[in-house]
Structures are given as structure tokens and as C-alpha cells.
């Protein structure tokens, strides 16, 4: 049965993020109420996803390499690795290296449990790996092609591992071809444990209610959303169960597609061991 491989340090999982950095990402994001640009929302989402992945893998005073992570940015007719600083030019890095090399670490204040039934202000580190950027066209097909090459190599090097998960964050307007056809080629790549999974996070300028993990495209507001839904992989049975546990409206036919919503639960769709039900996800 597919998608059963255990994720461990010896047999890590792979998250590859594709991020839209085209000019249209400068437009306002319709899913929020604070006038953010889509590029700013994308940076917020990506930094939170990377942050939460690091926290998931943190173990006592170290961090376990349960995952390798990559970020490819696409804009201005090209696609290239988008992590900066010391990780500049790297396509995939172990999570421990990602955690140790953000662009910068900001300090923010949040309220937290004081351990004795009360609440206290706490200064927390907020690592930033990715800043907003936009320029030129939307070569999403080129990004899917580059992702296909990367996951082919990954699957050859990890033939028994859990298949890579590619998460594409975009406003959906590809300018270089048929994204559904390229997505099919990407998700045709497979290892012993199943095919590569492609999830799409759609940040739209079209207003409307957020939609998470739909089973069909009937409620999606435009052709861009429908194409991205079409390109998205169905969730595995474990993912449907985990999504349901996390309070998401997942069903048997749900696909890895999210419209104008924060996709932070997505990184919890892979199992790395017992997760306390009483830890709140941020």
C-alpha cells in the first residue's frame, strides 16, 4: 500500500515549496482584511511553514533531520532556488541546516502559559528565511519542470522513502504554458511508496470565502482556482484522517488545494510520531 513509509532521520521526507514571485503578486490579497499584497502574504505563509516545520523536528536541545526542505522561486521568465543568505543557491537542505541559517531572527512578543495557570508576555525568536519579492511574468510551468527534476533525483536517492510533497504557492496565473499538464508530469514521478504529491495554495485577488481541501471544483470562484484544483493531488487516507483530527473539512475525495486561507496544517499531514492532541497549532 502506498504512502506508508516511515519518516525517520535515516529515511527523511521532502518538502519542496514553489513560490510565485511574479509581478501580479504585487496586487492586494483578497483573503485578508489588512490590505496586504499577495507577495507579503506569501512571505508570511512561507516563513510560518518553515518555522513550524523546524519546531516539529526540534527534539530537546537539537533538531532531527526528519525532513529536507527546498524553496524554488519563479518570476521574470526563470525559476531559481529562493533561500537566501548562507543557503543561497541550494535547492534542498536538511531541516537542521535550515533552522540554523535563516536570513535573520527577529524578536516578537507573545502571550504564553506561565506554567502555573497564568499568562505572561514572552519574547520569542521569529526567524525569517524569505522576504517579499515580485517581478515580471509567472513561469509556473518552468518551476514545475525544475521541481520534477529535483524530485526525480530525490526519489532515486530515497527509493523507499515517503514520496516528496511539492507545495506551490501562487495567485494561479501561469504565463508559460499548461500548468495542469506540467503538474501531471510532476506527480507521475514515483518511488516504491507512491507518487509525488502536489498541493496548491491559491492566494487570490478575487474575494470570496476561503476554501480548504475541497473534493470538487464547484465552489471555486475562477478558472485559475479551478486549474490549480485540477493540478492538485488527492490527499492520502492518513492525511484525510489527520486533517479531520485538526478540524479541517476533509473528505474522501479531498485534494491538496487551499484557496485564500493559511495552509499551516499542511505540514502536519506527515506522521513523524505521536503528536499530543492538546498542543495548539499556530
Amino acid at each position: 500500500m502506498a504512502y506508508q513509509a516511515e519518516i525517520s532521520r535515516k529515511n527523511p521526507g521532502c518538502f519542496l515549496f514553489l513560490v510565485d514571485q511574479s509581478e501580479s503578486m504585487e496586487d492586494p490579497f483578497a483573503g485578508g482584511d489588512n490590505g496586504k499584497k499577495k507577495a507579503e502574504e506569501l512571505a508570511t505563509i512561507l516563513n510560518k511553514l518553515l518555522h513550524n516545520l523546524c519546531i516539529r523536528c526540534a527534539k530537546s536541545d537539537s533538531i532531527y533531520d526528519y525532513f529536507h526542505v527546498g524553496v524554488l522561486g519563479y518570476s521574470d521568465e526563470s525559476c531559481k532556488p529562493a533561500l537566501g543568505g548562507e543557503l543561497s543557491g541550494r535547492s534542498l537542505v536538511p531541516i537542521s541546516e535550515l533552522a540554523g541559517k535563516p536570513l535573520r531572527i527577529e524578536e516578537r512578543t507573545k502571550q504564553s502559559d506561565d506554567g502555573a495557570g497564568g499568562v505572561m508576555d514572552q519574547t520569542v525568536k521569529f526567524p525569517v528565511w524569505f522576504d517579499p519579492y515580485w517581478k515580471g511574468g509567472t513561469p509556473m510551468c518552468a518551476a514545475l519542470k525544475d521541481a520534477t527534476k529535483l524530485v526525480e533525483t530525490w526519489c532515486q536517492e530515497h527509493p523507499n522513502g515517503f514520496p516528496p510533497i511539492v507545495i506551490n504557492i501562487t495567485d494561479g496565473e501561469a504565463t508559460d504554458g499548461d500548468l495542469v499538464a506540467e503538474a501531471r508530469k510532476l506527480t507521475a514521478v514515483s518511488g516504491e511508496d507512491g507518487s509525488v504529491l502536489l498541493f496548491n495554495i491559491h492566494l487570490s485577488s478575487t474575494a470570496g470565502p476561503s476554501i480548504e481541501l475541497p473534493g470538487n471544483a464547484s465552489k471555486l470562484p475562477d478558472q485559475h482556482a479551478k486549474a490549480l484544483f485540477e493540478a492538485s493531488s488527492p490527499l492520502t487516507p492518513f492525511m484525510v484522517a489527520r486533517a479531520t483530527e485538526l478540524g479541517l473539512p476533509a473528505g474522501e475525495n479531498s485534494r491538496g488545494f487551499i484557496f485564500n486561507a493559511q495552509p499551516l496544517h499542511v505540514i502536519h499531514f506527515l506522521d513523524i510520531g505521536t503528536r499530543p492532541a492538546n498542543v495548539r497549532l499556530r
Binding site: A58, S60, A99, G100, G115, A116, G118, T274, P276
Partner: protein, 261 residues
């Protein structure tokens, strides 16, 4: 790892091993047992530190030790965990941690817990649980032996990867709906098994499939080597890779005496 001690009323053996691929230092279950005077009998605990939490081994040890060192056998035990929580925080205080480790520690550690008290005069037991560590009581009747109790989960399908657990920083959290309490009586020859989730789920699954291991556990499980053989068999027959802890108690109707075997 193996430890054996007993009053002449109960034969206790503890078997445990870390998740395959992990070192012994990375084993995050804990167990403890202690003979008691008031009431005369025995207290046993197992705790299972959650993989997705930090410093979970320390918290599991503190929970198990706290239980066997107190006389509380009911839900009030969980209301008296402040000293254990303080100790957990103190062990981390001042420790230089990178940002991710510090933030994860800030969430606290989490563990499943099962405590068992046996009253030697009445031959009755009381069990207390939060999470998915399980107690199974099996009698020595019939060729396959009979399961009298499985607590707090009764079937293998009830185990999940996200149980509700006890947190090292959760003083204010209402636990009462998550606390399970049960009790029962013991007859001569009864076997009690306290197990962390993966091994408990597997034993129940084998039982449900008509391939119970109770008799083997009763008669053949004696040494760390025999436990390792069972785990090796299990790993090719549906036993999930995890830390494993199994405490086996065989009860005999005879006066209590603090005698090491």
C-alpha cells in the same frame, strides 16, 4: 533492558527497548514500581513521552516516579503534579538552547500515563490513565486464556497518532474529561500487562485476529532476549516502530512479603 523484582504475591518483570533506528538514550518511555505499606501492596506506572515534544523522557520519568511515590490512586493524583512540573522546569532553566529548541520546550513535554495500584489484602486493583498506555488483565483459564480487562482502550482500532496527553506545563488545563479510572479483582494466576501504545495496540490486534500471545507472554516471556524475539516477530507482523515498554505482573494468592526474588 530488563528488571525483575517481586513480593512473593506478584512476579513483576519489565521489558523495554527503543524505537528501531534510535539509541537507548533516545528511549522516551518510563516505568516505575514500588511496594507499598498503606495499603499493603504494589504501585506500578508506565509513561510514554510523546515523540513530537521535547524533553519528554524527563517528563515521563517524573510522572511514573511521582505516581509510585504517592498514595493517591484516583484523579486527584493529576491535581498534585506541581512538584513534578516544577522539577521539569528547573531541569531546563538556564540551559542555553537554540531558538527552535527553546520554543519547543516552551510548549512543554507531553506523555501518556497509566498507574496501577494493587491492594494485597483485598486482591483488588485500581488503575488510572490519561492517553493510550494500556492495562490488560488476562486469566489463566482455558487454552487461549481470557482477556478480562483492556483499559482505557479496548480495541486496537481505538489507538491514534494524536492522543490527549499530560503536559508538563498544563496546570490550568481541565483534565477531568480525559482521566480514566477502572478497578477489578485478581484471582490466583491472573496476569496483568501494562504496555505503552504500540505494543498494547499490537497485542490487542493479535488477540482480535485470533492469534493471541497471552499464553506465550505468560509462560515464555522471561528474558530480554525473549522480549527481543517477540519484537522482531512483531516488526514483521504489524508492530509499529516505536519505543516499547511492557510490564508483566503475575498475581499469586499468598500473603504479602517484601521479598526480592
Amino acid at each position: 533492558m530488563n528488571h525483575a523484582t517481586a513480593a512473593n504475591q506478584c512476579d513483576i518483570k519489565v521489558f523495554c527497548c527503543p524505537k528501531s533506528g534510535n539509541s537507548v538514550e533516545e528511549y522516551e518511555d518510563a516505568w516505575a514500581h514500588r511496594q507499598t505499606r498503606t495499603p499493603a501492596g504494589l504501585r506500578v506506572a508506565v509513561a510514554d513521552g510523546a515523540t513530537e515534544s521535547s524533553f519528554a523522557k524527563l517528563w515521563a520519568v517524573l510522572l511514573a516516579e511521582s505516581y509510585v511515590r504517592t498514595e493517591l490512586a484516583g484523579a486527584e493524583f493529576f491535581a498534585r503534579l506541581q512538584p513534578a512540573r516544577r522539577l521539569w522546569r528547573r531541569r531546563l532553566a538556564g540551559r542555553p538552547l537554540p531558538w527552535f529548541a527553546s520554543e519547543k520546550a516552551g510548549q512543554g513535554a507531553f506523555a501518556a500515563f497509566l498507574g496501577l495500584q494493587i491492594d494485597a489484602h483485598t486482591n483488588r486493583w485500581t488503575a488510572l490513565a490519561v492517553g493510550d498506555c494500556c492495562l490488560m488483565q488476562v486469566d489463566d483459564v482455558g487454552t487461549g486464556m481470557r482477556v478480562l480487562t483492556a483499559f482505557p482502550l479496548q480495541e486496537s482500532s481505538q489507538f491514534t497518532m494524536s492522543p490527549y496527553l499530560i503536559g508538563s506545563r498544563s496546570d490550568g488545563e481541565p483534565l477531568h474529561e480525559r482521566i480514566h479510572i477502572s478497578n477489578g479483582s485478581l484471582r490466583d494466576g491472573d496476569m496483568l500487562l501494562l504496555a505503552t501504545d504500540a505494543v498494547a495496540a499490537w497485542l490487542l490486534k493479535q488477540h482480535e485476529a485470533g492469534r493471541p500471545l497471552w499464553k506465550w507472554l505468560y509462560r515464555k516471556l522471561r528474558t530480554p532476549e525473549s522480549f527481543a524475539a517477540m519484537v522482531a516477530y512483531g516488526r514483521t507482523h504489524g508492530l509499529r516502530n516505536d519505543d516499547f515498554t511492557l510490564v508483566r505482573i503475575i498475581h499469586h494468592d499468598s500473603p504479602v512479603a517484601a521479598k526480592e526474588r
